[in-house]
């Protein structure tokens, strides 16, 4: 009985910790963006950018974040060329998401350049995070 009680407490703590890690990473990054002059952040704007299609100058092909991440953030996506599975981005189904600053920064850099052809501004990154954290 006592063990079960402890297990429940422990699980509760772990879930809370994952949630806290995520909140703290998003907070830390958004604070950083604010220091750079950005904010306030809007989930609606983040979502708009998320679905917006961009034309690749070379191939002429249109693509967006959804090309790889699919139109359902709670589902797995697939890398367009290699076919490698991309785990769901929604923190509600994937607790690891938005818990590692280095990881978030790395993929912001890569994917903004990939889709927009340039780095995202602090405002845009803040909006993206505002949208993604609620998914």
């Amino acid at each position: 009985m006592k063990l079960r009680f402890l297990a429940v407490i422990l699980m509760g703590c772990m879930t809370t910790l994952a949630g806290l890690a995520q909140a703290s990473v998003v907070d830390t990054l958004q604070q950083e963006y604010k220091t750079a002059g950005a904010g306030p952040f809007s989930a609606a704007k983040g979502e708009k950018m998320w679905v917006e299609k961009h034309k690749d100058a070379e191939s002429g092909k249109e693509f967006s974040c959804q090309t790889c991440h699919t139109d359902d953030l709670k589902k797995s996506g697939k890398h367009e060329k290699t076919g490698k599975v991309i785990d769901p981005l929604a923190p509600s189904v994937n607790k690891e998401r938005l818990t590692d600053i280095k990881f978030v920064n790395k993929w912001f850099l890569r994917n903004c350049k990939q889709v927009l052809g340039r780095e995202c501004t602090p405002q845009e990154k803040g909006d993206f995070l505002e949208y993604l954290k609620g998914q």
């Binding site: 060329k81 490698k84 890569r110």
Partner: protein
Amino acid sequence: MVMKNRIWAMVAGIAWLLVNSGYVLAGAPNTDFAAVTNIKYAKECGACHLAYQPGLLPERSWRKVMENLHDHFGDNAELPTADQPVLLEYLVNNSAERANYKRSAQMLHSIRKVDTPVRISQVPYFIREHREVANRVRGNEKIKSLGQCELCHQKANEGSYAENEIRVLGAESWND
């Protein structure tokens, strides 16, 4: 007498160990490629594709790949500057020149000295080995490119590409 027997037993034991570890039988290099052992490499590069064994390409090719991560076959695969030297060092230290593996040597020796291929699938030895496959997988929607080794080579992630381990999607077995 007892002592002598013991020594013979030891000699036999050591010989058995040597044969089993491949020292005696495999004065010839190991087959295929050395498996990936670097965790960072497996994690970073394996996030988007099979973490290709460093022994698949010569040092000069890996250097070129790492210099151009901002345009990695059309994708942006930039890494924080701090992470790059570690990965390059691993690739260089285990490149085809340095791996005592049979297929590494075959890959290496098929490349002209003046060439620096960055696509593994452009290495002459690779092309030769996949000549027939290339036509058969063309149009197969499940196989996006010949770079997806693991789709047909069941043990590609271990560096093993033996013919009896091949399963081409949609085909029973593969013999050429």
